[in-house]
Amino acid sequence: MDFFAQIIINGILLGAIYALISIGLNLIFGVIKIVNFAHGEFLMIGMYLTFLLFSQSGIDPYLSIPIVFVLLFVLGILIHKIILQPLLGKAEFNILLTTAGLGIVFQNLALMFFKSDYRVIQTSYSAAKIELFGTLVSVSRLGAFIVAILAAVILYFVLMKTRIGMDIRAVSQDPEAAVLMGINDKKIFTITFGLGVGLVGIAAAIITPIYYIFPTVGESFSTISFIVVVLGGLGSFHGALIGGFIIGIVEAIGGIISSAEWARVFSLLIFLFILFVRPSGIMGKNARV
């Protein structure tokens, strides 16, 4: 029983991280209809920023959450304004290639500045564990879970209860009608891109105490977030949460009954199975934020 609980708890903790990474990707897709192939690289940039803040200024990853969020929010806004905005409304394929290209550029810049070394940050709580429901849980994973859930709740509140959130939802559903209401759709697109990238910055800060940091660290997370988003339903906020938890739990179970490498195979199998049953994802079919 304890063993089973351990797996499920690990899966849920992991799932929340996946969900938070995916929500940013999904928000950008749901509103701007851009598939952001550089998403994993924004995560990587966030992790290096957290690393730098920790190693140069001694700022704890949890304290660097707001800093990394703001820095990536601004980075997202600049990238969107300068590079992506001019391409909107033209051939969709160009934007796809551009975001993929940006990812490669970011990876190589990271390689240039940080070399291909694996970095790790050692915090006082890195190895700490606490007991939860009779199982031992890593403190940094529990912390990551709490922050991820909090961030998702705050985002949900902003989207559902604030004026800017209502504008974002309106633009997501019908940008032209939103313009008729006096909403500057371009501005909303830019803010949304910044928000999506900022959210992945939060994810980056909280996983830095858990994972190694290296220039291509974004790739595996990128793959996972694409799976999560498609699994949950493109553009659906709830879908990304549910998808995150499913993949997290499947990977935790898969990792126990076989090895960590095979865990990914299990999640891909579940992914294929769910797509077979529900081609538009769990919360799919026109689901939007």
Partner: protein, 234 residues
């Protein structure tokens, strides 16, 4: 209030509006009639800035309207109830109304306008927390008009508000328009119900193949042979 001169508009390379000139005075109801594909929607979209004209000028309350970006135009008092309603289906009825309230004037009048709309359309009041996408077609059209009014426009434009509605609902739509007219709102109406529109409007323009071929008082328009034969079927 609105003066359009020598407007030319094209989609890509196909020109659809040729040298159109018309004006709307404050307090008037002006109808724009014409067959499908004549370019009526194109004219409305150009006024709202969803399309950029090739040439021509649009002066609105003494301002050069073309100098304003599209999202600023609703704040100047222009409001379009678009063809096909274009509600936000996953926003609630109330949110669909609130989203149009942006200027200080609109905010000030918001409660008054809301109360008036809910009194006029009690069904909307009952369903104000429902998602707009779950309303019936008639209710959606009412909501679209209500949304158009809540921005407190000086000029309300409607693109085929009766399209696809049951005759009894069409009556209701025209009742609302009559009520708005009595309240002194300036209205620019694009409609397929030519007779009803002409009975409501003060003046009308006839648009055929992208050209304004006729302009007159509605009364005279109703007597015009061409209009009677082609649009009224008499």
């Amino acid at each position: 209030m609105l003066e359009v001169k020598n407007l030319n508009v094209s989609y890509e390379k196909m020109q659809v509006i040729w040298d159109a000139s018309f004006e709307i005075h404050s307090g008037e109801v002006v109808a724009l009639i014409g067959p499908n594909g004549a370019g009526k929607t194109t004219i409305l979209k150009t006024l709202m800035g969803l399309l950029t004209p090739l040439s021509g000028s649009i002066s609105y309350m003494g301002k050069d309207l073309l100098a304003y970006p599209n999202y600023e135009r609703p704040k100047l008092g222009l409001s379009l109830v678009p063809e096909g309603r274009r509600l936000f289906p996953k926003l609630t009825v109330l949110e669909n109304l609130q989203i149009a309230v942006r200027t200080p004037e609109a905010k000030e009048k918001r409660k008054e306008n809301m109360d008036w709309i809910f009194e006029l359309l009690p069904k909307l009041a009952e369903r104000k927390n429902q998602l707009a996408g779950t309303l019936s077609g008639g209710e959606q059209q009412m909501l679209a008009i209500a949304r158009g009014i809540l921005s407190k426009p000086r000029l309300l434009m409607l693109d085929e508000p009766s399209l696809g509605l049951a005759p009894i609902i069409v009556e209701q739509v025209f009742d609302i328009l009559r009520e708005l007219k009595e309240r002194g709102l300036t209205i620019f109406l694009v409609e397929q119900y030519v007779e009803k529109s002409l009975l409501l409007a003060d003046r009308a323009y006839l648009l055929e193949e992208g050209k304004i071929v006729l302009k007159d008082d509605s009364k005279n328009m109703l007597k015009n042979d061409h209009v009677r034969k082609v649009y009224l079927g008499i």
